[in-house]
């Protein structure tokens, strides 16, 4: 008898999710698409991804090729411009447009890698802290407090000083700095969910700690984490660019946007385009992601949804 009913329940729980999941997705898209900014952000973000993926096909030149006869050539529409280099060239004659296109690869990769690192480690720590409480919680959260006591850029700079300048180390440093936000969010969400009935019933049914944490509780804490992930994505790009700008991130001749800005600083008065364009690229990317983030928050936040 008992077996039968549990089999019934299981059958039901398999049948329901597919429909329910579609419905949830549909509802989510409904709210997300109502936010015009968010849709624009999404479109721009997708374009950037395409640009990054197909950079070698789209870019008119190699990002490292130096055209010695065209040093600091202005953009095509300016006096002395040349359609061979639509956005002009930099101080050693490299095509700006190509470098900007290849730069998208770095910024997006930085965002994805940093967020994956920060998200996975932060969620893990937050789960442990919120689930086990006690001494585990105290130790983890105090360490997070220490990380948060430092201005993020300063801590990232110091970590890079220890690890050595370079893009990989910069990403590790930024992930470390961003990770406490995920840990705090996860912990708070886990503590909220832990005493709910579905968790208790799963525990009574004999689910292991690991199953309870990862399968039962975690999926119900996702909404704030997704929003935080988008925010962190744009933060990661900004911080990596700042590190590059300060000479501690990607090293020249990498066409990373922040590094390009650092190289361009001395030409600020002579060639506006070498300074303006990389920064504009950073701004557009970060803005697109933040627009998406706002839309995601509105669509996922049940409190605002009702109003």
């Amino acid at each position: 008898m008992a077996d039968e009913s549990s089999a019934d329940l299981e059958g039901a729980s398999v049948a329901v999710p597919r429909d329910a999941r579609l419905q949830v997705l549909g509802e989510f898209w409904h709210y997300f698409s109502q936010n015009r900014g968010a849709v624009i952000g999404l479109v721009v973000f997708c374009l950037l991804i395409v640009m990054a993926l197909f950079a070698p096909l789209i870019a008119p030149h190699s990002p490292d090729e130096q055209y010695r006869d065209f040093l600091l050539n202005p953009p095509a529409w300016e006096d002395g411009g040349n359609w061979r280099f639509p956005f002009g060239t930099d101080a050693v004659g490299r095509d700006m447009l190509s470098r900007l296109i290849f730069g998208a690869r770095f910024s997006l990769a930085i965002g994805f890698i940093v967020v994956s690192l920060a998200l996975s480690s932060g969620v893990l720590l937050g789960l442990l802290a919120g689930y086990f409480r006690g001494i585990v919680d105290v130790v983890i959260m105090r360490v997070m407090d220490v990380i948060l006591a430092f201005p993020s850029l300063l801590l990232a700079l110091v970590l890079v000083a220890i690890l050595g300048p370079g893009l990989v180390n910069a990403m590790i440093a930024i992930a470390v700095v961003l990770q406490p936000h995920f840990a705090r969010l996860t912990r708070a969400a886990v503590m909220g969910e832990k005493s709910r009935e579905y968790v208790i019933s799963a525990r009574v049914a004999g689910a292991s700690h690991l199953r309870l944490m990862l399968v039962t509780i975690l999926p119900n804490c996702l909404a704030p984490l997704i929003v935080q992930a988008t925010l962190s994505f744009s933060n990661a790009i900004l911080e990596a660019a700042a590190l590059g700008f300060l000479g501690m991130g990607a090293q020249p001749p990498t066409p990373e946007w922040g590094t390009m800005l650092a190289e361009a600083r001395e030409f600020i008065l002579r060639a506006w385009w070498v300074v303006t364009l990389p920064g504009l690229a950073i701004l557009i990317t970060v803005l697109a992601i933040n627009l998406m983030g706002d839309g995601l928050r509105d669509a996922l936040d049940p409190k605002l949804k009702r109003s």
């Binding site: 900014g37 105090r142 360490v143 407090d145 220490v146 948060l148 006591a149 430092f150 201005p151 993020s152 850029l153 300063l154 700079l157 110091v158 000083a161 220890i162 050595g164 744009s234 900004l238 660019a241 700042a242 700008f245 300060l246 000479g247 501690m248 922040g258 800005l261 600083r265 600020i268 008065l269 506006w272 300074v275 303006t276 990389p278 920064g279 950073i282 701004l283 970060v286 803005l287 933040n290 627009l291 706002d294």
Partner: protein, 335 residues
């Protein structure tokens, strides 16, 4: 509430210990031998190395080194700079007012404009004014401020010559620092034009450093106001026939203030991180530029000391914000 504040105070201790361990480990985590790092000498004899090992206390067990470091740090002794041989605490104290001055100006700028536009957006919810303000705020929030600073320099300093490119005051003026705040010192000096010059030098850095806090404050003010404007007492105030200004400006805004003040307080970390970039761009002689220069020159004792001092400042301000929040917010006060 006392319990809440005490609890919050107790939390400071583990955080401080963590901060001090991190700054203590910094020099020991750097690649290379700590003696080489600290001595900055190239090839030294074995005898000299041993001598230095003793001078720096590196021959002691690690826990003793840490306690020693902590003890000296608590007495304000963070060692000396490797490049200038000056006391690090002393250097910090001379440069800190410049950062504070800039941060205060940026906070005032961000608060006044941010709150104004936040209220404006909330009262015109959904209209073009709301969309324009919030769109601009999102652009500000997404701004790579080091680039923003360069753009402003190109436009207003190099192009239009309205303001100077860098520094705190025109080099024609010289006076001994009294308070360390250029705005006050320039007035005290009695030199004609000094104050104007100090103000001119402050304008661009203030805008650059204030941009992100401004955007955050505007967004926060808007959402806090929207929440409050829907409340019953606001409707009551309106139905009593109070003027629109009284309702939004006084009844609603006073209650929207709590989250806004908290947001302003929590921007301190952002401000100090922003100060690193802003000061570098404008050659502003504050602690942000000091830290960047120290990292660039491998002046690791300065980095270590600065790290500790800055973290302690951020921690203290966050503590202050939390306590103030508990004091103003009746929901915590009555607990």
């Amino acid at each position: 509430m006392l319990k809440y504040i005490l609890n919050r105070l107790l939390l400071v201790i583990p955080t401080f210990i963590g901060i001090s361990i991190l700054s203590f480990s910094f020099i020991r985590l750097l690649p290379g031998d700590p003696v080489d790092v600290l001595a900055g000498e190239r090839s030294m004899s074995a005898a000299r190395r041993l001598e230095l090992l003793h001078v720096f206390g590196l021959d002691q067990p690690i826990w003793k080194q840490y306690l020693d470091y902590l003890w000296r740090a608590l007495h304000g002794d963070l060692g000396t700079s490797l490049t200038t041989a000056h006391s690090i605490t002393g250097e910090f104290l001379t440069l800190f007012p410049a950062t504070v001055e800039l941060s205060i100006c940026a906070t005032i700028f961000a608060t006044i404009i941010g709150v104004f536009f936040g209220i404006l957006a909330a009262t015109h919810r959904g209209g073009w004014l709301d969309q324009l303000t919030m769109g601009t705020a999102l652009v500000g929030y997404s701004m790579p401020i080091f680039w923003w600073g360069l753009l402003l320099i190109i436009l207003f300093a190099a192009g239009l010559h309205w303001v100077p490119v860098s520094g705190r005051i025109n080099l024609d003026f010289y006076f001994k620092p009294v308070t360390g705040f250029m705005l006050i010192d320039s007035v005290l000096s009695g030199q004609k034009g000094a104050f104007v010059s100090a103000v001119q030098h402050l304008i661009l850095p203030t805008i650059v450093l204030g941009t992100i806090p401004l955007a955050v404050i505007a967004r926060q003010t808007r959402s806090a106001m929207l929440e409050v404007l829907g409340e019953d007492y606001v409707r009551t105030a309106r139905s009593k026939g109070l003027s629109n200004f009284r309702v939004t400006g006084i009844h609603a805004f006073r209650n929207a203030l709590i989250p806004v003040v908290t947001t302003i307080g929590l921007q301190v970390g952002t401000l100090l991180a922003g100060a690193i970039l802003t000061e570098t761009i404008f050659s502003w002689p504050g602690i942000g530029k000091w830290m960047i220069d120290a990292i660039g020159h491998r002046d690791y004792t300065v980095v270590q000391g600065g790290l500790l001092l800055i973290a302690v400042i951020v921690m203290s301000v966050n503590l202050l914000v939390d306590v103030l929040y508990a004091l103003i917010n009746p929901r915590i006060r009555t607990r």
